[in-house]
Structures are given as C-alpha cells and as structure tokens.
C-alpha cells in the first residue's frame, strides 16, 4: 500500500496512567496489553486488568483516539485458552484492533471475530511482500508492523507491492534478532519473550555494586560490569559485554536506542501509515515526553516544516541513539 497520507502516531502504555498521558500528549493510537503472558511486556506491576482496559478504551474514544491490544506472544501447547480469551475480550471490550503474531491465533480471530481489525505484530517477523500478502490473504490482516531490520528503501519496495498498511518503529529499544526468534533470554532464565512475554524477567535479574562498578547478572550469568559514571543498559544478554577470543565488549549489540525522527519525511514518502514508539515497560514520564516530542514532529511534517531536533537522548538505553537499519551503513 503506497501513498503519503498523514502519519499515525502509535504510542505505548503499560498502565492506565501512561495510557492517559499518551492520549493527552497527542497520541493518535495507544497500544497496550492484558496483565498476563499474552503480551510481550509481561512485567511485574505492568499492564491492564479487563476493567482498566474497558475504561482506557472509552477514554481514548472520548478523545478521538484508538486502542490496539497486543496479544502478541505465542500460545503454549495445551494452554490455548489464555490467548483465545484475550482475543475474545479485546473484541468484547471494543478494541480498535488486536496485534497478533501467531498463525493459529490469527486464524481463530479471523474466524471468530470477522469484524475485528487484525494487525500483524513485529513478533511475526514478516519482512517481505510475499509473507505479508499471505497474512493479508489468509486472515484479512489490515496492517503489518515491520521488523526493525529493513532499510527505508526496502520498506518503500514492500509498500509498493502490498495492499495493506505498514507500521514501523520510530523510537525506543532495539533487538538484535529478527523479531520473534530470540532464544537468549530462554537460555539464561528458561523464560522467553516470545512465549512468556518477558525478555530478561525481573525475577532472574540481580544488580550488585562491586568496587564502584554495577554488575548485572541474568539467571546467574554476569552480563555487564559497568564502571562508575558510564551508562547502564537493560539486563539483556543481547546487550551484554563478553569476551570472545581477544575481543572484549558488546558481542551482539551495543546498548543504543532507535531514534529515527530525522527520517520521518523519508518514511512518509516510503508509504508508511503509522509510526510506533517502543516502551510499554516505561513510566508515564517517558510516555508523555516521547509522545509529545513525536507529535510535534508529525505535526511539523504534516505542515511541511522541518522536523524539530530530538531532545530525547537522556531517556534512552545507553544514552545513545541510532537510526538503526533504516540507514544501514554496515553492508
């Protein structure tokens, strides 16, 4: 689906307070999840009860906003009800769309709730036009969240070849793996972001100060030693510091965050429909600041003005930002 309309800003909310902050700060759409393993940010104290989701959807609708419910983990064999119930409840509560990754769940949702709008989660890792066409044809998917491995040129080529909307990440944490296929957290903790909704679950994380250094352990493995005064990353294996031969450092990925604000005009030109901010695990302060900044940027883009300079580095992991794969320079 190619075309350059007004870009939609899709914003994260881990709590009802963050949800309201997102809408107040100018989000067109908020995505969130139920407080269980059905979504990929299943952290303690986070997410929405059914009652909170009901109220939040009403709040958004009163302000002209939309709510997307992420049911984007992969159902466990023999325990499907938790996931199908989540889809049923999303439809019953009036969600504007559900974000799904699993083929079985997409099939269930398309048959059981034919009027429920389906978005394909980034967890499905659909990164080419043929894969996207399959999801659109088979399940009636209306929008695909593209994996964070594509250049702007590749996104434009995909948009020219498909008949559904695309959504791309514009800001927030990055994963090194093709989405939905990461086993690092499972290896260290037995808990998977794709199955249990928690990458590096807090229950397996230990922080300790040793001689001024912050030592982070995940499932008993030391993964960082950060000197005093240096920025600390999340306790994920992909951002860990390891020794491999003579090399000592970030073997998989540097702890930097995506900030592609400067690429908004190019992404619009590439036919993208929506820009997504990562960070459902973050506070309402983060939500408010990031959403407000990107709403300003989108309004400037719509008015044909220059995109204002981003001032969000202080909120990012590693306190550094990158435009990620959108501007690949390593090939």
């Amino acid at each position: 689906m190619s075309g350059q309309g007004k870009l939609e800003l899709v914003c994260p909310a881990g709590t009802p307070a963050a949800f309201r902050a997102a809408i107040d700060a100018g989000a067109h759409t908020v995505y969130c999840g139920f407080n269980d393993e059905t979504n990929a940010r299943n952290f303690p104290g986070l997410n929405f009860s059914r009652a909170e989701m009901t109220e939040s959807i009403k709040f958004a609708h009163r302000r002209g906003g939309k709510t997307l419910i992420a049911v984007n983990t992969f159902p466990r064999a023999g325990d499907l009800a938790l996931w199908t119930n989540a889809v049923d409840d999303a439809a019953r509560l009036g969600a504007d769309a559900v974000i799904l990754a699993d083929i079985g769940l997409l099939d269930y949702a398309s048959r059981r709730h034919p009027s429920l709008r389906l978005h394909l989660s980034v967890q499905a890792a659909a990164a080419n036009a043929d894969a996207i066409a399959f999801y659109a044809r088979s399940f009636g998917v209306k929008r695909v969240v593209l994996p964070r491995v594509l250049t702007v040129q590749e996104i434009a080529a995909i948009n020219r070849a498909i008949a559904v909307e695309t959504e791309v990440f514009i800001f927030g944490g990055l994963c090194v793996m093709a989405e939905g296929r990461c086993s690092l957290s499972s290896y260290a903790t037995g808990k998977s972001p794709n199955m249990n909704g928690a990458c590096s679950p807090a229950s397996h994380v230990d922080y300790h100060e040793e001689d001024g250094e912050l030592v982070s352990r995940l499932g008993g493995f030391a993964i960082h030693r950060v000197a005093a005064g240096q920025a600390a990353p999340y306790p994920t294996l992909c951002k860990g510091c390891f020794q491999a031969g003579a090399y000592r450092g970030h073997v998989f990925e540097d702890p930097v965050s995506l900030d592609a604000a400067s690429l908004i005009p190019q992404l619009a030109e590439a036919g993208v429909t929506a820009l997504k901010i990562e960070g459902r695990q973050r506070s309402r302060a983060y939500t408010e600041a990031v959403v407000r900044s990107f709403r300003r940027a989108l309004d400037a883009q719509a008015a044909g003005k220059p995109i204002p300079a981003s001032e969000l580095r202080g909120l990012t992991e590693g306190q550094q930002t990158t435009s990620g794969a959108y501007r690949k320079t390593w090939r």
Partner: protein, 185 residues
C-alpha cells in the same frame, strides 16, 4: 518530564542537621502518610500483587536516613532509620531524594535514571518493578497526601499545600508535587 536536567542534591548543611534529628517524629509522619496513601490509593496493592509482602529499603543517598517500606494492604508501614541500621530488606532503591520524589510525581522516568546511574537497585528486581509501576499508575501527589492528613479540613489545607510545594519545588528544582499535563493542542 525533564530529560537532561541535572538532578539536584539535598543541601549538605541540611543533611548534617538531619544526622541529629530524632527519628520517632519522622517515622510517625511516615506511618501516617502511608496509611493515608493506602486508604486513598487501594489500586496500589492490586498492582503490587504478591510483591506487597516484600520489604523495600528506600535510600535517599544524599540524606543520612533511610526508610523501610512494607506496603502491605492490611497495614502499610514506613519507618525511618539511621543509615546502616535498617535491618534486612528484600529490595533496595537508592538515589538522590530529588530523583526518588521526581519518580513518584511523574517527572523522571525510572529506567532513564537507571541508565544514567542516578538510580541504584539491589535485591529483588521484580519487587522494585512492581512498586515502581504501582506508584506510577496511581499518579500520586505527596502534597495532596499531606493535605489529606488534615481529615475533614483537607479542603482548607489542599490549596496551600500544593502552592507551597510548587513554590519550594520551583526554587529547589525538586518535584514536590505532581506534574500536571497540558493536553496537546
């Protein structure tokens, strides 16, 4: 939300004076405050879930005091101790007082404070996350909670408490009251 703002530190002279302050009144005030908070924000406990049974050491590193928080639904407790004498705890959250207050009031993001090393976490990380998320969702305003101590006269105390908190906060750079959001145009 402040993004790159330098976090103010509690004045050294005040910290020295606090070394000699009696702890009983501080603990009594803390006990009243968390009792009021629990009554006015029952959602805190629902969001804390099983983590409500944990003991949290709240450690404002620029003060000579630490606070032991037990956020139990049937009787939340907050007690002040001299540094090093608080006894066992499940999770420690340490940082400048201004950072801790700013997180409560929605001015600072906890993850960003962790990235910048302004916030230190030890012990049960799951309990810390649950507490952070529970407090963040309640949109707590400590000035309003202090005013609520006045019971039926709360309506008289509310506005002065908020104005005083905003005034002192503005002068010191410390968020003593909740950040008010302006809806986007």
């Amino acid at each position: 939300m402040s993004i790159d703002r330098k976090i103010p530190r509690f004045p050294a002279a005040g910290a020295i004076a606090l070394r000699f302050a009696p702890l009983v009144p501080v603990s009594l005030a803390g006990a009243r405050l968390v009792k009021t908070l629990g009554r006015r924000h029952p959602g805190l406990f629902a969001r804390l879930g099983e983590q409500a049974g944990k003991i949290f050491l709240i450690d404002p590193i620029d003060l000579p005091l630490v606070f032991r928080l037990a956020p139990r639904a049937d009787g939340p407790r907050l007690e002040a101790f001299r540094r090093g004498s608080a006894g066992p705890w499940d999770a420690r959250i340490g940082g400048p007082l201004a950072a801790l207050l700013g997180m409560v009031h929605g001015v600072y993001d906890g993850d960003a404070l962790f990235f910048s090393r302004d916030l230190v976490i030890e012990g049960d990380t799951g309990a810390v996350l649950a507490l952070r998320n529970a407090i963040d969702n309640e949109e707590i305003d400590l000035a309003a909670e202090v005013a609520a101590q006045f019971g039926p006269l709360e309506f008289l105390a509310s506005s002065p408490a908020r104005h005083l908190a905003a005034l002192v906060g503005g002068l010191s750079g410390v968020a003593l009251t909740r950040a008010i959001r302006e809806p986007a145009a």
